[in-house]
């Protein structure tokens, strides 16, 4: 069964938002896009049962946003509370500012920062580096597919990607369908004699471990 991972993108510039959307479609992601923080929060709130992005790409400076009902800080706080296993990258032209850095990390202590002045290509490279994790004989390609490198077999499921990008942390899954997908991934690892195995900690909590 295939399920493309989701990404939430907040960018107030419509052209840049479209560029990012196309980039993630090319990577086989399902992008959720918004030009304002309030729209992004609504999108996430309204789809919380069915949609849990593995990545949030957030523009800190929203001068072109169609509304200012909520701030970027509100979105980051929402993600920290409701989507704690979502990787977050925040980009800003003011990333050197102590005040901005402090505000971002008080809203989301695990957020990664990127300097907008380094350009769009640099942002994409940075995202690729965040997502293209390797764990022993497993590799995440384009952030959306897990590959067993000795056989080149692919496992297409967002929950498998989520586990690999969070290795060795414990990840909590939020639905029966997600935990079923995780167990299928565990079976797939065993079938491929992978050195990586799935460990269950109960209560829908799982992590990957490497066999010694």
């Amino acid at each position: 069964m295939r399920a493309n991972p989701e990404v939430i993108i907040l960018e107030d510039d419509p052209e840049k938002l479209e560029d990012l959307r196309q980039e993630f479609i090319r990577k086989r992601f399902h992008p959720l896009t918004a030009r304002s923080a309030s729209r992004a929060i609504s999108l996430l709130k309204n789809n919380l049962e069915s949609s849990r992005p593995i990545l949030a790409v957030v523009d800190w400076d929203l001068s072109k946003a169609p509304d200012n009902i909520s701030t970027t800080s509100d979105l980051l706080t929402f993600i920290a509370h409701e989507l704690s296993d979502c990787l977050v990258i925040v980009y800003s032209a003011n990333v050197d500012s102590f005040r901005v850095r402090s505000e971002i990390h008080r809203s989301h202590p695990r957020a990664w920062l990127h300097d907008k002045r380094e350009g769009d290509a640099s942002l994409i490279e940075r995202i690729d580096r965040m997502l293209e994790q390797t764990v022993e004989d497993l590799k995440v390609k384009d952030g959306s597919v897990v590959i067993h490198t000795p056989t080149n077999d692919e496992h297409h499921h967002r929950e498998a990607v989520r586990l690999v990008v969070h290795y060795p942390e414990i990840v909590t899954f939020h639905s029966d369908s997600a935990t079923k997908a995780v167990r299928r991934f565990g079976d797939w690892l065993a079938k491929h004699d992978s050195r990586v195995t799935l460990i269950s900690h109960g209560n829908r909590k799982y992590r990957l471990t490497v066999m010694q």
Partner: protein, 201 residues
């Protein structure tokens, strides 16, 4: 900017990842520390003195380290640090009164970063801190024990808190046949992790 109370801020979301709780009046120390440590090993929570207790409780089961820059701290956070195996480092201000004796005062930022990174890189008897949380054991297993993590990070120095706080660490060392043990100094009552004789440290 909308007015968000500290409880609502993302930094107060409970998290089991190894945490450094940075207590300061303006947050500058947290921003600076974040730039100088490997963030796959710890998350830095930036709190003001009046938020410190909440930040402590959000760091599950307790923070790995508390770093402070203020000359005084609320009694509640002082009590929490006196009853849990938490590393304590103070920078730019004298140690507040009433902290346990394992707290260290570090005069320069360089000293502080050196201390944090030394604690993160601690090794003994084949054990070292794992990415995220816990301790990687010589047999490849991951021990999530915050007590063992604290003892290993502070070694060879000792904790000025009761032995009862370290039961899980001793159990893990015995269960995995690790050549190290939890030691209580008979003179001071302080607790440390020591390698057993004949073992490379």
């Amino acid at each position: 900017m909308t007015d968000t109370s500290s409880t609502e801020l993302g930094m107060m979301v409970p998290d089991t990842m190894r945490t450094l709780l940075a207590i300061s009046d303006n947050g500058e120390i947290a921003v600076s520390i974040r730039d100088m440590v490997d963030r796959s090993y710890l998350v830095v929570r930036d709190v003001r003195p009046n938020e410190a207790e909440e930040g402590f409780h959000a760091s599950l089961p307790w923070p790995w380290m508390v770093v402070g820059t203020t000359p005084t701290i609320p009694e509640s956070i002082r009590n929490l640090m006196s009853h849990n195996p938490v590393l304590i480092a103070w920078y730019g201000a004298p140690l507040p009164e009433g902290l346990p004796s394992h707290a260290v005062a570090l005069p320069t930022f360089r000293d502080l970063i050196g201390y944090i990174n030394d604690c993160l890189e601690a090794q003994m008897a084949g054990m070292h801190l794992a990415i995220g949380l816990g301790v990687e054991l010589p047999d490849g297993q991951l021990a999530r024990s915050a007590e063992l993590q604290a003892l290993l990070s502070l070694a060879p120095a000792s904790f000025d808190i009761p032995m009862t706080a370290f039961r899980s660490a001793q159990r893990i060392l015995l269960a995995h046949h690790i050549e190290a043990s939890v030691n209580r100094d008979p003179a001071t009552g302080h607790i440390s992790l020591i390698a057993r004789a004949g073992v490379e440290v």
